[in-house]
Amino acid sequence: MSPVEALYYGLAALGLMAFLSVMVLALTWGERKALARIQMRMGPMRVGLHGTLQPVADVMKLVLKEDILPSWADRRIYWAAPLAVFVPAFLVWVTIPVSRDVVIRNMDVGLFYVVAITALSVLGLVMAGWGSANKYAILGGLRAAGQLISYEVPFIMAALAVAMLSQSLDLTEIVDGQAVFANALVQPLGLFLFFTAGLAELGRTPFDIHHAESEVVGGPFVEYSGAHWAVFFLAEYVNTFTIAALTVLLFFGGWRWPDVPFDGGVHTALSVLWFMVKTYAVILVIFWVRGTYPRLRIDQLMAFGWKLLVPLSFANIVLTGVVLFYGWPLWTLTVLSLGLLGGAFYLISILPGRGPSRMTVAVRPARDLRTRAAGSSASGVDSR
C-alpha cells in the first residue's frame, strides 16, 4: 500500500467514524422525538432548540460515567465485547455507497461482504452475556445468538434474490439496475422478508427479546455502564442505520429512482440527500413499529422465523429464478410475489385458535345475576 493510499484510508476511516457518529446522534434524537409524537409527549425540549443538543448531553453523561466491572466478570471478554459488536457495525460501511462516487471502497462482492460482516456482531453479544457473569445477561446473550442466527437465513436469502434480479453483488450496480423502477415494486415479498429479518437482526421491537427490559432487564448490556455501554449503543444505532440504508439500496433504488437532476458536484450532493431522505423514511417506519408493537416471545420468534420467513425466502428465490429463466416480464414477478405474501398472511389468519375465538369476554347484566343469587341459597359462585 502506497503512502497516499494509506493516508486515504486513514482519513476515510476518520471521516466514516465522524459521519456515523453524527448519524447516530441524529438517530437518537429522531427516535426520541418520533416516539414522543406517538406517545403524546414532547420528547427532549430543554437542551438546545427542541432538544437538538440532547444527544450531545447524553454522550457527555455516558462518557463521564464510571465504568463498572462486576467482580465476577471475565475481565478480558467483558471489555472486548463492546468492540466485537462495534467493529463489524463499522466495517460494513466501508463498502456501502451513499451515492455513486461517495463510497470508501466499492467492491464487486459488496453485498456478500456486507452480509458476511453483519453476521459477526452476534459474537459480541454472546461475549457480553458470558463475560458479565450475570444470569440475565447470559439469558439475553443466548437469546441473541438464537435469534440472530435464525434470522440470518431469510435475511441473506432476501438479499440473494435481489442479487439475482440485478445479476450483480456490487451495490452500485444493484442501484443502477433500479433506475427505472425499484426492486420493491418487483419483489414486494422480498422487501417484506428483508425488512422483517433486518428488524430481527437489529433486535428492535417486536424482536427485541435479547434485551427485553421487562424480562431480562437489558440482557447482555445489563452490567455495562458508561463508555462501554455507549459503544454498544453506538453499534446498535449504526446497525439500525445500516439496515435502513441497505433496504433503500436493495429495494428503493438508492440514490436513483427517480434520478436527481444536474451534473457533477451538485448531482452528487443531491444524490446523497435523496438517499438520506429515503433512509430516514425507512428509519421512521422502524421507530413507528417500536412505538406500537409488543414483543414476541422466544418460541413465537423462532416459529415466525423458521416456519414463515425461511420458507417464504426460498419461495422468493425460486419465483425470481423461474421468472428470470423463462424471461417473463417483471410484472409477473410482482403479481406472484404479492400473491405469495397475501397467501402467507391468509394462512396465518386462519390458523386454529386465532380468528373465531378472539372475543372471549361477554358482559352479563348484573340484574340477571342478582335474581339468580336471590334464587339460590349460596353466593354467586354457583353460577359457573
Binding site: 437469546r143 406500537t292 409488543p294 416471545r297 422466544i298 369476554v361 361477554a362 352479563r364 354467586g380
Partner: protein, 374 residues
C-alpha cells in the same frame, strides 16, 4: 397445591435459578419471584413476599377509627378510595349507622372512578410487560384525568382520606357535575382508544391468548377473586352477590371471560371500566342535595362486637374484619386482601410457562404489593 409442596430436588441442579425482583423492573413493586428455568421454560417458581410489610393491621390497633382511614389508603395505593370505603362500611356496619343517600352516591361515584384509574394503570403496565411501550402513556393520560378530578374533590391525588365513618369529609365542589361530565366523555373515548391500541394487535393476542389459563373451579379453589376469577368464567362480583352501600340500585354488566387466560383477565378489566362509567352516570342521576354525613360523634366508639364486610375492590374481594372492645380504638383489624389471595395462584399459573410469560402472567393478576404485604 401439589405444586407448592414440591421438594427442592424437583428443580434439577442443571436448571438456572433466576431471581426476579425485588429490584426487577416488572415485578410491580418489591415482589421477589425466584424461578428455576430449563432453557426458557420455567420448571419451578417460588414467590417471596414481605418486602413492603409495614404492619398495617397491628398499627390499626393503636389508632382511633378516624385515623385508621389513612392507613387503609396505603393498603391498595392504586385504588385508595375503595379501601377507605371498605373500612368505613365495616365500622358503620358495626355501629349500625345509616349513611345519608347523597354520601353513598358520592362514595359510589368516586370509587367507580377509582376503579377506572386503577384499571388504567393495569392497562399501561400490562402493555409494558408484553413489551409495548406506548400503552403506559395512554393509560396514564386517563388515570391522570381521574386523579385531577379527585384532587379537586378531596384535595389529594392519592391518599385522599375523604371517605369517613358515617359519610364523606365534605360535599362535592360546586362545579363537580360539569367536570365529571367532561371527564366521563373523555374517559369513554380514551378507553376505546386504549382498547384499539392494544387489544387487536396480533402480537399482543399471541402473547396473551392461552397464556396462564386457569379454569373456573380451580380458580375458586385457589381463592381467586375479582377480574382474575371472572376471567375464568365465574360470574362472581361482590357488588352483585352481596351488595354493599347502594350497589343494588344500579343497572350494569359484569364482564365474564371464558378461558381464564391472560387475555381474558386483561379484557375483563377493559370492559369493567365501561361498566363503571355506567354506574357513575346512574349514581350521578340519583344524587340529590342533602347532608353528606350522618350525625356521628367526632370520635367513633363502635359497640363491643365484631363485623366482617366484603367489598369489590378493583383487584377483587376486599374484606375487612373488625373486632371492637367498645373503646375508640379497634381491638383487631384483619384485611382480606384480594391481591394476596390472587397471588396464591401464581405458582400454578407459571407451571411450564416461558420466562417471558412469567412477566405477563404476573402482570395479568394485577397485584399491588402494598396490599399483599400490608
Amino acid at each position: 397445591m401439589q405444586f407448592q409442596q414440591q421438594p427442592a430436588q424437583q428443580a434439577d441442579s442443571l436448571d438456572l435459578m433466576v431471581n426476579m425482583g425485588p429490584q426487577h423492573p416488572s415485578t410491580h413493586g418489591v415482589f421477589r419471584l425466584v424461578i428455576w428455568i430449563d432453557g426458557e421454560r420455567i420448571v419451578r417458581a417460588e414467590p417471596h413476599i414481605g418486602y413492603l410489610h409495614r404492619g398495617s393491621e397491628k398499627l390499626c390497633e393503636g389508632e382511633q377509627y378516624g385515623q385508621i382511614i389513612t392507613l387503609f389508603d396505603r393498603l391498595d395505593y392504586v385504588s385508595n378510595l375503595n379501601c377507605e370505603l371498605a373500612f368505613c362500611l365495616t365500622v358503620e356496619k358495626l355501629m349500625g349507622l345509616e349513611v345519608p343517600d347523597r354520601a353513598s352516591c358520592i362514595r359510589v361515584v368516586l370509587c367507580e372512578l377509582n376503579r377506572i384509574a386503577s384499571h388504567m394503570l393495569f392497562y399501561g403496565v400490562f402493555g409494558l410487560d408484553a413489551g409495548a411501550m406506548t400503552p403506559i402513556l395512554y393509560g396514564f393520560r386517563e388515570r391522570e384525568r381521574v386523579q385531577s378530578l379527585f384532587e379537586r374533590v378531596t384535595g389529594a391525588r392519592m391518599m385522599h382520606n375523604y371517605i369517613r365513618v358515617g359519610g364523606v369529609k365534605e360535599d362535592l365542589p360546586s362545579d363537580f357535575a360539569e367536570r365529571l361530565g367532561e371527564l366521563t366523555a373523555l374517559l369513554r373515548a380514551g378507553i376505546d382508544e386504549c382498547d384499539e391500541l392494544l387489544t387487536n394487535n396480533e402480537l399482543f393476542l399471541s402473547r396473551t391468548k392461552g397464556v396462564g389459563a386457569i379454569g373456573g373451579s380451580e380458580g375458586v379453589d385457589y381463592g381467586l377473586s375479582g377480574p382474575s376469577l371472572r376471567a375464568a368464567g365465574v360470574a362472581e362480583d361482590v357488588r352483585v352477590s352481596e351488595p354493599y352501600s347502594i350497589y343494588d340500585r344500579f343497572d350494569y354488566g359484569i364482564p365474564v371471560g371464558t378461558y381464564g387466560d391472560c387475555f381474558d383477565r386483561y379484557y375483563v378489566r377493559m370492559e369493567e371500566m365501561r361498566q363503571s362509567l355506567r354506574i357513575v352516570d346512574q349514581a350521578m342521576e340519583q344524587m340529590e342535595p342533602g347532608p353528606v354525613s350522618a350525625k356521628v360523634r367526632r370520635i367513633a366508639r363502635p359497640p363491643k362486637g365484631e363485623a366482617y364486610l366484603r367489598t369489590e375492590s378493583p383487584r377483587g374481594d376486599f374484606g375487612v374484619y373488625l373486632v371492637s372492645d367498645g373503646s375508640d380504638k379497634p381491638y383487631r383489624v384483619k384485611v382480606r386482601a384480594p391481591s394476596f389471595a390472587n397471588l396464591q395462584a401464581l405458582q400454578r399459573l407459571l407451571r411450564g410457562a416461558y420466562v417471558a410469560d412469567a412477566v405477563v402472567i404476573l402482570g395479568s393478576i394485577d397485584i399491588v404489593l402494598g396490599e399483599v404485604d400490608r
